[in-house]
Symmetry: C2
Subunit: 354 residues, 2 copies
């Protein structure tokens, strides 16, 4: 491992490990992205995957929100599709549609097209981006790495791109349950190596995004999501017990109790979960992260501050990492992001004095 | 009110009213539709809104699943967009996108474009379709009418069409809360008249579809969905206490307790809700409807039967109307729909003997 500048703001990591702190750490999913004019300036001359694949550019856009806003973490600018790409599926960014696989896995036979990647060969650019970013951050805030969860990646690999219902992928689960498990296991193995590589390159916390977990009912989640999510946490923690792991199973409201029984340190909540209800289920088994409705950032500043206070009160002062319930949106006003972050700082300090 | 042939199969209505029966009634959301070759044959020569607006055609496709499958109800073939259309917004069916408003309500000022409709003028074709259908059903099964919920209609009216996140509509809620409430109230008033008119035309049960309820968190649901849903049930029941009312707030897992406190007789669940957990929250305050994952109909028949048995066991033998957790999908095999319906019949009778 490289040696890095020492960390000056360790609020996030201490909270993720279950310690109490003098205020609530805050960052935003997709805090590096299109809502920032300085990001759009970079994208004027570089396309999306060029930014992802060029460590200097990835580091630049990763650090942009840290330069502008008093966030307590940076999260690497990258895309969950780099894993299916490393497994041999071509990915294209289609304007207005997001990442797209021109040749998805329409039948289990087509799994023959997948390769077992050499992680450093296939994903070395991500590792290099982490190392460059960590150095340039110079200890200001910790650096978060991430990966898509096996089911979410499978959903894209089978469907070919974004979809409202991921019907093709869900049909696979019911028609080809054993092939689905084989695909999920192969993806899990790559994700584990990828996340371990991220830690060795400089990531100080890792988040697993199961963005489409909410397409499941409790039963199919238990069969096709939970075992792979749990295995990822166990194997990554076995290699790096010191690195906090976060799981974000979006809309899987039914899964909280099961996730709390896994090896993740932090459970990230979307905005449909009431913080106090989540706390009641999870207890002290995990720190909670989230969960302001991203659309609340459209509200006028005073109303937004009230929303933040209400959210913080729901979680209570400790064992909470403030975040949105999903990512920043392209038409968000960066000044409203500032209101969000500063309101978390101010109100969470205030909560500790009363 | 017209006089109609007497009802031979009253399982659905008796169950919806809280009576116990000798088997569980079953129907499927979107049971009249593209998965049926006889429906596609009608659509070869008639476009979607032509079928909706022509009582003879609407009756024909409504009765198609009743002719083919042993379902315990018919649901009128119609579209929730007829209400915004009656309120003055032009609706077009765009192939591959669904119903679309060429001129959505981009700002509150544009609410001036809305009209207060004369219900019989604007929606008389729906009432006539119900009357024709009820007569042609000849008492075989009860006829269900429906409407979209205020928030779901507002989401379309503001967004202009289908969307993954309904960001424009959700932005309205945070930016223009008072105008949002005014729009929701105006829509509520039309829906109430529309549903009362449906009963007078022959509908024997009514379902309110809040398809986008799950885009809310618990707080915005309480502000922008619940009061209007509750008002609809109260006002329709005041006019027709004998007609069971069903509410389907899709993905609003957090709303079960609040919905159980309203005047709806039946709460319909999507497939992400565990039946036993829902029963625990709702108790005997409402009958439950649902909730097989529509994608389970892609499974081979034996696996599908096991899924049905598992679902029925979760709900228990009584106070349950079997259904899917969402609508039938265009590539479903009608023979798998038959397996679903017959498995409900057989297994629910069996459950009462053990």
């Amino acid at each position: 491992m490289a040696s890095f500048p020492s960390l000056q703001n360790d609020l996030l990591l201490r909270t993720a490990r279950g310690e109490t702190t003098n205020r609530t750490p805050v960052w935003m999913m997709r805090q590096a992205g299109r809502y920032l004019p300085e990001y759009r300036a970079v994208r004027e001359t570089h396309d999306f995957f060029e930014v992802v694949e060029t460590p200097d550019l990835a580091a630049e856009v990763t650090i942009q929100p840290v330069e502008r806003l008093p966030v307590d973490a940076a999260i690497l600018f990258c895309d969950i599709m780099v894993v299916p790409e490393a497994m041999g599926l071509e990915v294209k960014m289609v304007s207005g549609q997001g990442p797209t696989f021109p040749q998805p896995l329409t039948t289990p036979d087509e799994m023959e097209r997948l390769v077992e990647p050499d992680i450093d060969d296939a994903l070395g650019h991500v590792f290099e981006a982490l190392t460059v970013t960590r150095k340039r951050l110079n200890g200001r805030v910790p650096l978060i790495g991430f990966a898509g969860a096996p089911w979410t990646l499978m959903a894209y690999m089978v469907e070919g791109g974004g979809s409202k219902s991921y019907r093709a992928a869900r049909k696979w689960l019911y028609r080809h349950p054993e092939a689905s498990k084989a695909l999920l296991q192969r993806t899990t193995d790559v994700i584990v190596d990828y996340l371990i590589g991220q830690v060795e390159a400089g990531a100080q916390m890792l988040q697993v995004f199961d963005s489409w977990a909410g397409l499941h009912g409790p039963e199919t989640f238990r069969t096709f999501c939970l075992p792979y999510l749990a295995e990822i946490a166990e194997r990554v923690h076995a290699a790096h017990p010191e690195v906090p792991l976060v799981v974000f199973a979006k809309e899987a409201h039914f899964a909280l109790d099961a996730l709390a029984a896994t090896d993740y340190d932090v459970i990230s909540l979307d905005w449909t979960m009431a913080p106090d209800a989540a706390r009641e289920v999870v207890g002290d088994r995990a720190v909670l992260q989230g969960n302001l409705d991203p659309c609340a950032l459209y509200a006028p500043p005073d109303a937004l501050r009230r929303e933040v206070q209400h959210m913080l009160a729901g979680f209570g002062p400790h064992h909470h990492i403030a975040n949105l319930g999903h990512g920043m949106l392209p038409d968000h006003d960066p000044e409203h992001a500032r209101v969000f972050v500063e309101a978390v700082h101010e109100h969470s300090e205030h909560m500790r004095t009363v």
